[in-house]
Subunit: 528 residues, 2 copies
């Protein structure tokens, strides 16, 4: 052993071996959530220069190719009312057909009306988020059919887990927005599910939320619930975007009836429309990243300009969700090099049109292993460097979106907080440069006990939720816990500490009355 130590001290000066082993004794490791100060991660700003992978010429080539698609091929628009609006705006509607073609000048004319930045309002003003510009906003996983944790395994979505996930979301400031139903509670009948879910969302959390576009009536109910929750008039809400909807075009080149109704209902009320084509290269889009981007851009421009035809100046967000499939199995792949390129190029396109950019934190892992972490970290790399403004599925997304994982939720929160810390400007004040400390310590000393260190050490560095930095021996004595073990323990601790955000009793009453009334009326007729 002395031989090893001699070895370490002579040859392994570079391995923290030498410096690390001696000191890495105590400490709890991976149990720091209690110490995380509240409200640290609101209003994240990304002032890094955006990474670009498209030359200005290549950007214009994709832009022009997508406009050519809209002019020559066109889009199938399945709602007659939408075709009428498009026709009135000057689009080329083919009589007796759903096909609509758009002159490139028309598209750019309407895109010019889209605001570059706007505020999405929450019932708690502290939770308002600014969309666009340098702002970076995170929303948790949405729309998973399954939910999982270690004890319960993988199971179909249900109201109990739905509520737990909302509480977890509310507990972390870095998750700014309700991306949707973190898991689909299929134990609630579809006719009233939106009423139950939205009522939970506005009571268990105080953050902005997503109204699914699943038919006109559901949009109308969501709009009313947002208005009641904020305790404002319809007029005030008309000038203050208070909820958003995600519109996924039916790639390739088709917009279905509920999606078109959603754009009409939300844009006409000055609420936020996020147009996100789901263009998997090699499946519903060309197998090349560039080709998939052309189609993504054509579909996005079609839906976004339609929102402007409905109401000029309505708040919209450009969504990119281009990834590749595993050509051996057809499985969607996420967090890949191709995904990274698509995310960064998508940011260049969104900035080309001067609108906020929506991306995602994605992975295709079946459990919380190294793959889940590197695919998510690679996604966040591209999202951050590419200038994403609104990041959906930022926490809890597992198994390619099929499963909302409680453990993955905690891992993602840690990753999001690391991104936020990375984006904090570096302190280069004279005190931070530390010349006096360097002078005091001098050659051959150490900084552990210096005033410069003692004044700062408690807040000098990010304290991760999950990273276990105990030395091998201590970690072994503790039973060799993995990140998964820590995440499993911590999500339960956080749920135990959950406190419901305050709500005005009058608002709660009005909300309950509205939901009860709408449920009495049967909610929304379904086909079941």
């Amino acid at each position: 052993m002395s031989d090893i130590l001699a070895t370490v001290s002579t040859t392994a000066t570079e391995a923290p071996a030498a410096s690390g082993r001696a000191r890495r004794g105590g400490g709890r490791g991976a149990d720091r959530t209690r110490k995380a100060p509240a409200a640290t991660y609101l209003n994240i700003r990304n002032t890094l220069a955006r990474t670009e992978i498209l030359t200005p010429e290549a950007l214009e080539d994709i832009h022009n190719a997508s406009l050519q698609v809209l002019e020559e091929i066109g889009v199938d628009v399945m709602l007659p009312e939408a075709r009428d609006i498009m026709k009135a705006a000057g689009a080329m509607v083919t009589p007796g057909s759903e096909r609509v073609r758009f002159d490139r000048g028309l598209i750019m004319e309407y895109m010019a009306h889209a605001p570059g930045e706007f505020t999405l309002h929450a019932r708690n003003p502290l939770r308002n988020v600014r969309m666009g510009g340098n702002n970076l906003v995170f929303a948790q996983i949405a729309s998973a059919p399954f939910v999982a944790d270690r004890e319960g395994g993988r199971r179909a979505g249900n109201q109990t887990d739905f509520r737990k996930l909302l509480k977890l979301m509310q507990s972390y400031d870095v998750v700014h927005v309700n991306g949707g139903y973190p898991v689909e509670p299929i134990d609630i009948h579809a006719s009233v599910r939106h009423l139950e879910c939205l009522s939970d969302i506005v009571t268990l959390t105080d953050k902005p939320f997503h109204a699914y576009s699943l038919g006109k009536q559901r949009n109308i109910d969501a709009l009313e619930i947002a208005r009641i929750a904020r305790g404002i008039t319809a007029e005030q809400m008309d000038s203050e975007p208070s909820l958003f909807t995600i519109i996924n075009s039916n790639s390739p080149l088709r917009l279905d009836i509920p999606m078109l109704q959603g754009i009409i209902e939300m844009a006409s009320r000055n609420q936020v429309v996020v147009l996100t084509p789901f263009t998997l290269a090699g499946a519903m889009a060309p197998v090349t990243v560039a080709g998939a981007l052309v189609q993504q851009n054509a579909e996005a421009l079609c839906g976004l300009s339609f929102a402007q035809m409905v109401r000029k100046g309505a708040p919209v967000i450009y969504g990119g969700f281009t990834s590749n499939v595993d050509m051996k199995t057809g499985a969607p792949a996420f967090g890949t090099p191709e995904y990274m390129k698509a995310v960064i190029a998508g940011g260049q396109l969104a900035r080309r049109y001067g609108v906020p950019y929506r991306t995602s934190n994605v992975n295709a892992a079946n459990t919380l292993d190294a793959q889940a972490a590197y695919e998510s970290a690679m996604s966040l790399w591209a999202v951050t460097q590419g200038g994403g403004n609104f990041v959906m599925h930022a926490a809890g997304w597992s198994e390619g979106g099929l499963t909302a994982s409680f453990e993955k939720f905690v891992l993602d929160v840690d990753l999001l907080q690391m991104v936020a810390e990375f984006l904090k400007p570096l302190d280069v004040s004279e005190a931070a440069l530390g010349l006096d400390a360097i002078r005091d310590v001098g050659p051959g000393g150490h900084y552990f006990g210096t005033p410069h260190t003692l004044e700062r050490y408690e807040t000098a560095f990010y304290s991760p939720i999950l990273s276990d930095w105990r030395n091998f021996e201590t970690w072994t004595e503790a039973g060799r816990p993995t990140t998964y073990d820590h995440a499993n323990r911590i999500f339960k601790e956080v749920l135990d500490r959950y406190e419901a955000p305050p709500i005005d009793p009058a608002v709660a009453e009005e909300l309950a009355a509205f939901v009860a009334k709408r449920k009495e009326e049967g909610g929304v007729a379904t086909d079941f």
Copy 2:
């Protein structure tokens, strides 16, 4: 179940659920190494604009503060011969003391002689690497006292594992350089260890390598082994850098005798000196990242300019290894937001002086779990965006450098290949834009069977080594393997397929004779 599917198809259009579940059937998942074409990942070029976190003013503040450190505080230089060289060059040597101070003009005058780019030569010319500029070069883990795989657990370094790690390294093109001894083989006596190890390195691999600076004689032996392996004259080697040494200053502000001897021996022979202060903020450097960077820069400039005092124009590399410690335990932390900032700022400093930049792929995890993956991915994010040229510990680094992990080696290779794929320029040719394919498929179709897809699908996307993209059911039938399981299987498969690189019999003979002679002479006297 039909209820779930209805749910998915209506509300979860965004979850690959809808599109994914149907298709994610077959496929092996995580078993693609055989298909990886050889020599894909040589000569990686990073043409991304460098990310900067220091304003030009902040960069100059750190630059000036570090020069002030060298002028006012100075550095302890423990080798008299080195002090004589510094004195002759114009440094202020304090009589009867080890302390040397440097005028800022003197430092910058000598730094101006350092080349911005150079080639590091291997015995196989295909393995030559270009250092500096846009080049990105990866070296495997070096100097770990321990080695680990699942079956054998964590054990002290030994020659058998040392050789296995060299074979693994040789098997992957993306690992370009031998960073050093991947693990310290303590079962070889220290007096002859360098002879045994270097002889293994130049026979089991054909890539450039590291000569540890552990006393003048070891440098001299390494220089001769590099010359013999390349089959060239001393004169030719004097014009062709053929090996490198890592010099870790003894932070704070001290250079010890073996390190100074290493600089003299290597620089005087026109071989590569990598000066890397190991400045852990809060331990051997100020607790602030900015202060740690000031000290890192002072120590780096001191050692690099000393190499230029020894021989003007000698090839040097600016090394950054600033990270933070866990102030609760003193444990070194890696892959943190502070590490990312230090890596990116270090790149700005290296470019400020026009020399290549050395960084590292680091993590502090005790096993191959999510932490190991996200800390490494975050490191590679900063390394790539910050413009690292030479990345040490790029494959196999585990547990803060204490352990060389066979499984982590495979994970890192996958991450390095993903970085290389991400850096490949996006094809935006007319064929890649795919307008014809979009026209052929039209609204509502799919691209699985189109000629545009069939012509490209086999090579369209990166095929990861480890990512398991099988659907949950198939993955469950397979026993729910994790990334760790796949990596454990694959490193053994790769070792089984290892083939020794060809070597000229005359060279092998001369090498064996030299090593035998030096061992007969007793190698290098040690204190043991």
